[in-house]
Amino acid sequence: MYRLISVMLILMVGMGCARNNVETINIAGSTAFQPFAEKLAEEFMAVHPDVRVNVQGGGSAVGIQSAQSGVVQIGMADIVTLPKEAEGLNSIVAAKDAIVIIVHPTNKVDNLSLQQIQDIFSGRLNNWAELGGEKGEKGEKGENKSITVVSREEGSGTRDSFHDMLLKGVQLSPHALIQNSTGAVRLMVQSDPSAIGYITHGVVTPDVKAIAIDGIAPSPENIHAGKYNVVRPIFLLTKGELKGKAGEFIDFILSPQGQKIIADNGLLPVK
Amino acid sequence: MEDKIVVKGLNLCFDTHHVLKSIDLNIRANEILSIIGPANSGKTSFLRTLNRLNDIISTVKITGEILLDGIDIYKKDILLPWLRRKVGMVFALPVPLPRSIFENIVYGPRLNGVTSKAKLEELVEKTLKAAFLWDEVKDRLHLSGTKLSGGQQQRLCIARALALEPEVILLDEPCSGLDPLSTSRIEEALYELKKQYTIVLVTNNTKQAARVGDNVAFFLMGEMIEYGSTEQIFTVPHDKRTEDYITGRFG
């Protein structure tokens, strides 16, 4: 009888503790950093079973807004310069991200100059033959393969960074196809032999070919050495200093272990 | 008098349900044949074999022969529109198509290629008069057919069938939903019509059969029990079941 009661008591206390101790951390924003955050959350929860980390995408704007409004404790943003809305938020650079230009693997072009990139994305240059690429699939008709430009949507952090760092004020061609995620851009490029687009370095797969800019290839060595410099920061935004588990989570991200996870999956660590 | 329609060994099944069982029947020209019998005895199904309206239902199976003026109407190369124009039909419930009185009547003739306005107008007047409806609707021919009263609708349907200039008219309990006055109007019309047409009338009302029919066929459970002149059937029926039915002892 005593045993039964004590077992029940222990169970109740256990359940009570479990309920009391489970803390939820909500984090949302940048789709570019989302997979990394998920991975980091997974590792963090393995060490802290009493914490639940909910990772949402939504985009940098959502990250900023939801951090500002308190819907989440941590917002993620991947913009070169933070907008006005982010004023008053505490920003921490969690990682850096290289942006690479990708083409179809069958494309003969390996290298583009900054000028060529600007010409292509603004629509002034419209076929691969002029860039040393091969004649189009429809070669029998004698025409050159035109270039399909794939870009991100207005407002996207990746797009803004790309514009800031490479286009430098040159207007994007209105005929460019617009896709709203990194994966979608890659999918578009891998399915169209004449396409060109840009994505973050971390998600390049063998289905697409990353090309060099002014002779510098986006190889891990070049990126780490700082030679390939099309790189943007990824911010974690919080409302004031975070305490408790959320603070621990940020510390974990910045710790050598967290930074290693980031580096292993294709982003640049900050430390 | 010559036989207009000859039915020989007619059987009809819906799926596994045997609805008509070896019917043999001759219908003479310019007579009114009434078919009587209790519900579910196959009267309507029989009527609908005469213009092949049962064919719409995909599960129906028909064997036997029906000759119209000596032509087998179940032969393969019979054109159904041709047959249905020769054999007009009026249904139990009046079904004016959702259009005006005028358009209802000229529907058939138009399909037949009659386009002259004068001729169509003449046809409308003629048929409406024959159906005893002209006086009631002549000023509102462009009113929707569905706005008429039940009895008027049924006479409109009769007029519509007449406009096809058929040779045979099938009537499926045409007075079932009507009041006595409308009924007598229709009976009056039928009496006039038989001078020109052969009429087959299915009715639940034995008195009506006695009033208008020249000959009567009594159907029971898919079989034709007895056939004879109206006078004979209603005075000295040969079969006990016929007698029971017309005297109201079962039904």
Partner: protein
């Protein structure tokens, strides 16, 4: 007893008013979020402007209105011949058994997520369009084909229902007057089922106008006024879903304002549908 009945009646009235409340709430929120930018840019500038680059302060959604219209018309051109012939055939010519099997199958397709259609469009349709028509793949044509297929089940299923709702006696009446089946269909059944079929088509148009995810995947999303059916376009819905993730400030308001335009377009479409339906009833 009387008291209870009254209580029930009031309860049900409140329930019934909930749809109006929801509609009102939606309108309120979207107007609240989107109206300021419309007032700032001006209604004409917003609707007729053809330059959309919100971060530079250009808010013109005219290309997207055109894009939406083209894709919707294209989808109808693809869908109508197929869905109507399918509905008429299944309702009037096929056997009951075939209809009983095919109609649920067609309705099943209405439940397949639009993203699946979009993805099949990318994988199967793009190469076909590139090979047979040229262009890059994402374009009005691809979007029209995929949307056309997506609204097939809706239109077909409603059209079958309306055709079947035409009283059987009309068919018998017409056939017994010597009409062929096709004449019966053309002159009696289609006119009688007209309002039902039309409301099905309008529902289909509504779905085509409102479709988002599939369109993002296959229309290309370029903000240009298309010159041919091989040009990529962006629709109003795509505009919202594409840029919402990253939009802030005026940009975000402009997306809500796009929603207002869409909202009003749908309301107008519904008023048209309502009028048609009412005319059908009066007849």
């Amino acid at each position: 007893m009387k008291y209870r009945e009254n209580l029930i009646q009031i309860g049900l009235l409140l329930t019934a008013l909930s749809t109006i409340a929801i509609l009102f709430l939606i309108a309120l929120f979207i107007l609240h979020e989107g109206l300021p930018i419309i007032l700032k840019v001006g209604i004409k500038g917003f609707i007729c402007g053809s330059h959309w680059s919100p971060q530079q302060g250009h808010f013109g959604i005219f290309p997207m209105i055109i894009g939406t219209v083209w894709i919707t018309i294209g989808a109808l051109l693809v869908s109508l011949p197929l869905s109507l012939s399918c509905a008429i055939y299944l309702s009037e010519f096929s056997t009951t058994k075939v209809r009983a099997v095919l109609k649920p199958v067609i309705e099943l397709l209405a439940g397949i997520p639009s993203v699946v259609y979009g993805f099949i469009g990318m994988v199967v349709l793009f190469p076909m369009v590139r090979n047979y028509f040229g262009g890059t793949g994402p374009c009005i044509l691809s979007a029209a084909i995929i949307l056309g297929i997506m609204i097939l089940p809706t239109i077909t299923s409603i059209a079958i229902d309306s055709l079947q709702a035409v009283p059987y006696s009309f068919r018998e009446g017409s056939l017994s007057l010597g009409a062929t089946r096709w004449q019966t269909i053309r002159m009696v059944i289609l006119p009688a089922a007209k309002s039902g079929i039309l409301s099905g088509i309008i529902l289909g148009v509504g779905r085509a106008v409102g479709e988002t995810m599939a369109v993002i995947m296959i229309a290309g999303n370029s903000v240009i006024i298309p010159g041919s059916f091989l040009d990529p376009v962006r629709t109003l819905t795509a505009n919202i879903a594409l840029e919402m993730n990253y939009a802030t400030g005026d940009h975000r308001q402009a997306l809500f304002a796009t929603g207002i335009v869409l909202f009003i377009a749908i309301i107008i479409l519904n008023i048209i549908a309502n009028t048609i339906a009412r005319r059908g009833v009066e007849k």
